[in-house]
């Protein structure tokens, strides 16, 4: 695993990403974020709080699906309660995450763990579009949650845990 990530980093160093990171780290936004000590910690706090509201909301919807919480509401009511929080938290995650990339471009963009995490993020967004689109429409129409939907709900939670794993390990990847 370590070897694989090392070769991934070596490859990233041969891509145009290097010039992009150098350019990004010289932009006025990046310089401002780099030179204000509390800017990055505060952005990270916003990032963590956005995960909290996204993950908490996704957890409550999934628990309702398994009848482990919120059973006095219908599935549709539970979805209505949380869906806006899920999408707006995702927006906040992308905005705060992008600013974090701009503040430390090399640490993130020339980092194999960062790109693994990004694959996870894309998969999570696609899975959420499926879950909160087609699945929820079917459940609202009185359909039952079969094994595919239930497995999907569990996989989405696991995927988010892996994304958080990636997020933390960005700091420990050899760059």
């Amino acid at each position: 695993m370590g070897d694989l990530l090392y070769h991934f980093t070596e490859w990233l160093r041969t891509t145009p990403l290097v010039e992009l990171t150098l350019w990004l780290s010289d932009t006025s936004v990046s310089l401002w974020l780099q030179t204000h000590f509390w800017a990055i910690p505060i952005l990270q706090c916003i990032h963590i709080l956005s995960i909290a509201s996204a993950f908490g909301s996704i957890l409550m919807v999934s628990l309702r699906l398994f009848s482990l919480a919120g059973t006095e509401r219908t599935m549709a009511e539970t979805e209505r309660r949380y869906i806006r929080w899920i999408w707006w938290s995702l927006v906040m995650l992308v905005v705060s995450g992008s600013l974090l990339v701009i503040s430390e471009p090399i640490r993130d963009l020339i980092n194999p763990v960062f790109w693994v995490k990004m694959v996870g993020v894309v998969l999570a967004i696609l899975a959420s579009l499926w879950f909160h689109g087609r699945v929820m429409r079917r459940l609202a129409a009185g359909g039952q949650a079969g094994p595919v939907i239930k497995t999907g709900a569990v996989l989405i939670i696991i995927l988010w845990c892996l994304i958080m794993l990636g997020g933390r390990w960005i700091a420990y990847a050899p760059v």
Binding site: G56, L59, E72, M164
Partner: protein, 170 residues
């Protein structure tokens, strides 16, 4: 290999558990990851109740119902956060106790706990009078607002520790 401990914090840090975590390449980051997953679950579920208590969300549903749905998960996640946090602490005990942000974080958690206890033992006694109301009594709103403020502060001070461990003490 390790110097003789001169105080309780060094004794904790130089314990076999402490040095095992500190010397491992993967244990500290893995504990941090579990700590993050646990703390976002704590915050995500606590805020669901706080927002209901402020009268901003879930107003069609009783406060007791919202609390019953979330609190078992909040507590489960809190236990995981406390265990992983405790193990992280053991591996760098003397650095943490010398860090003002760590002390602030512990203080904020104590305040969050006191706020919760006051709410639970005092305000909660009249819950049947306002359980289903859309607009909550002032005491309930204050408890919810304080909970949000204290937990936001816990997150901020927690993150600040990671940026300042090298600045204070050894």
């Amino acid at each position: 290999m390790y110097p003789t401990p001169t105080n309780i914090w060094e004794r904790i840090e130089f314990s076999s558990l402490g040095t095992t975590i500190a010397e491992s390449t993967w244990m500290f980051p893995t504990l941090e990851t579990l700590h993050v997953i646990a703390l976002v679950s704590v915050l995500g579920t606590i805020f669901v109740v706080d927002l209901r208590m402020l009268g901003w969300t879930s107003n069609k549903f009783a406060v007791t119902a919202v609390a019953k749905d979330t609190l078992p998960w909040t507590w489960g996640a809190f236990v995981l956060a406390a265990i992983t946090g405790g193990l992280l602490f053991i591996s760098k005990a003397s650095s943490y106790v010398g860090n003002p942000y760590f002390l602030w974080k512990m203080g904020m958690m104590a305040l969050a706990g006191l706020n919760m206890m006051y709410f639970h033992f005092m305000t909660w006694r009249t819950v049947e009078h306002w359980d289903r109301d859309a607009s909550m009594p002032v005491a309930v709103k204050v408890a919810a607002a304080l909970s949000i403020v204290f937990w936001l502060a816990v997150v901020f001070f927690g993150r600040a520790i990671g940026f300042t461990l090298g600045i204070f003490g050894s």
